[in-house]
Amino acid sequence: MKMALQKIVAPVLGEIGYFTQAFPFFGGERRGAVVSGYLRFSTDKITTHSFITEPDISISFDERIPFDAVTAGLPAGKFLLLNTALPARYAQAAMDRKVYTLNAKDISVSHGIAKPEDPFPLINSAMAGAFFKLFEYITGRTVPDELTRRIFEGALPVKTDENFLAFSDAKRLVQPLAASETPGEYPVSLFRVTQPNGLCTKCRLCYIFCSKRAISLTDSEVHIINEAKCNLCGVCIKLCPRNAISFETSEREDTR
């Protein structure tokens, strides 16, 4: 996400004459944790360094991020861009917002940038492509391919062609989502970390390293994962010497 905003989107916007600003925000936790990113662009000079609380576009890079967090502060009538394999789940959100979707992981996989089994696939180029489709739609301006291609060469010396193709594919494949009141079941959370299974030896590694204090011990030393606190960073899964915890792509009928 940081890469997409700072190395692709903002430099392209700068080249076509905008004042721009792009920054991520995250805490002390590391790879896998939720990261927010902010992008401003304007024909006037940008001086502010605050977070954006009422965006014109909200973009979700990952369905594991709670949907409420993605739409927080996004006024009605504004744009929502979602990376999802199951767009129909979000049809209700399209009732009062302009929702666009793409399957960025598929695009990355098709160009050899990501592997199907990656829990955190690289999708920056595809997401940047989808952003520029919306950008063109909103501003009526087109971004020349040669310019984008030049930025890619500077930012991504490895797999430049593949990434540029992913960018172009995403720009072509991003779709508006038809609104519907009926689906009625878009997920609270598609993903979760499983409770430790029988292989768990109560070694406490996960408990010690959980940055969100989402893992607790009971009197009988059983590890309990609190879904409300868990940010799906995956540190516990990486650390567990017995592979007793895993990510679960839920097919539960979690509805709101």
Binding site: K2, L5, Q6, A10, P11, L13, G14, F19, T20, Q21, A22, F23, P24, F25, G27, G28, I46, T47, T48, H49, S50, F51, T53
Partner: protein, 398 residues
């Protein structure tokens, strides 16, 4: 040399801008020890040195203490040295940083402002660098990414100036500047060399082989009067720096770079916005200055954002604020007295600043300081008549 430093308009983060500024200053050596959020400065310099785009000798070091020790060696041997760090890393340098300042070594340290623990935080406040406000250490602060690049160049120029020869900190807020990509203009290497020529070390502070009679900065004076003279010269050096900033920056910077850098340097010590004739002035330092500018657009308020904290530009500020009735200060630091540090600096000079001073503090632990927050607090101050010694905590719900 295999490549060239980029030149002209670009979109870069504060860390990348700092690295390029060091590249343009082309120090003889740069020492690196990583710490969030300044690590990228070190990484970028290492890459520029590896690709021979700059002549700088880059060294990975054992710690920040080793980094400042390396700097003392390089600088004592007439070289130009740079390093980058943050919070706990800067604090670890403390002992030798004091040596570097009293030995009059013009080392430049980029300090990406980050909270000092406890509790653990990687987010910005300015307590880490302001901890060193009682050292003979020049301190520059940046309000945007362009200033990050510029202040590194200013810092070398002022620090190495004749009669100054003191180390300098260039401070910029973690994340809000270090990780924020913005439009900047990179000056050409030739122009930078014109503004910042190769270091000419002050003769009085050299190693014996360069000047035999008095190698003052490493010897142990047996005469207390000589020792005292050295202490007094530190005060003179700070005052000289204050004079130099006004002249060098105002004249030479503007002459050499002209309108190309696209902002007013004013008199160097601070930048201004809003209505400078207003009864109310708001003083801040760092990235929040730009947010305050956005928040108060169209309001009858004068804005001052400090670029230079040490030497503290008391005279220049007094001249600018003399007509004001109220001064509102936004600090990202807190003292045991319950005040922010800029507010404390002003209140300790009542003869120069007799106005009502409203002190606000905030921005700790990753708190977002929004336009609404600032406007609300400023209006509260404007409609109030009792600043007293009270400090207002931004966003305090109690």
């Amino acid at each position: 040399m295999n490549g060239r430093l980029p030149f002209g308009p670009m979109v870069l983060t504060g860390n990348e801008a700092a690295a390029l500024a060091f590249g343009l200053a082309n120090p003889d050596a740069f020492g690196g020890y990583p710490i969030t959020p300044s690590t990228e400065v070190t990484e970028e310099i290492a890459e520029l040195a590896l690709k021979h785009i700059i002549d700088t000798t880059y060294r990975n070091l054992d710690s920040e203490l080793a980094s400042i020790a390396f700097g003392i060696g390089v600088s004592t041997a007439r070289g130009r040295y740079g390093t980058a760090t943050s919070s706990q890393g800067l604090a670890l340098m403390c002992e030798l940083l004091h040596w570097a300042s009293t030995a009059r070594l013009p080392i430049v340290i980029a300090n990406v402002n980050r909270s000092l623990g406890s509790p653990w935080s990687i987010h910005p406040d300015q307590s880490d660098s302001l901890l060193f406000r009682d050292m003979f250490l020049l301190q520059f602060y940046c309000k945007n990414v362009q200033e990050v690049l510029d202040m590194v160049l200013w810092a070398y120029r002022i620090a190495e100036g004749p009669g100054v020869s003191l180390p300098a900190l260039v401070c910029f807020d973690g994340f809000m500047l270090s990780h924020t990509a913005e439009n900047i203009i990179i000056p050409s290497k030739e122009k930078v060399l014109e503004f910042l020529p190769k270091r000419t070390p002050s003769e009085n502070f050299n190693l014996p082989q360069y000047r035999a009679d008095e190698p003052r900065n490493i010897s142990c004076p047996t005469d207390w009067m000589k020792h005292q003279a050295r202490k007094r010269s530190l005060v003179d050096a700070m005052q000289t720096a204050e004079g130099n900033i006004r002249h060098l920056v105002r004249r030479e910077w503007t002459q050499i770079f002209g309108g190309a850098m696209q902002y007013e340097v004013n008199d160097g010590f601070f930048s201004e916005a809003g209505n400078s004739q207003s009864d109310t002035a708001v003083i801040s330092m760092g990235a929040i200055a730009g947010t305050i500018e956005e928040a108060t657009r169209g309001e009858d308020i004068g804005l001052i954002s400090l670029r230079v904290f040490r030497p503290f530009p008391a005279k220049a500020l007094h001249a600018k604020l003399v007509h004001c009735k109220k001064i509102v200060v936004f600090d990202r630091s807190i003292l045991p007295s319950g005040e922010g540090i800029i507010a404390n600096e002003l209140r300790s000079r009542t003869a120069l600043f007799p106005q009502q001073i409203y002190g606000f503090v905030g921005g700790f632990g990753g708190q977002n300081l929004s336009e609404k927050d600032f406007l609300h607090e400023i209006r509260t101050a404007m409609n109030s008549d009792h600043p007293e010694a009270n400090t207002y905590w931004i966003g305090d719900k109690s």
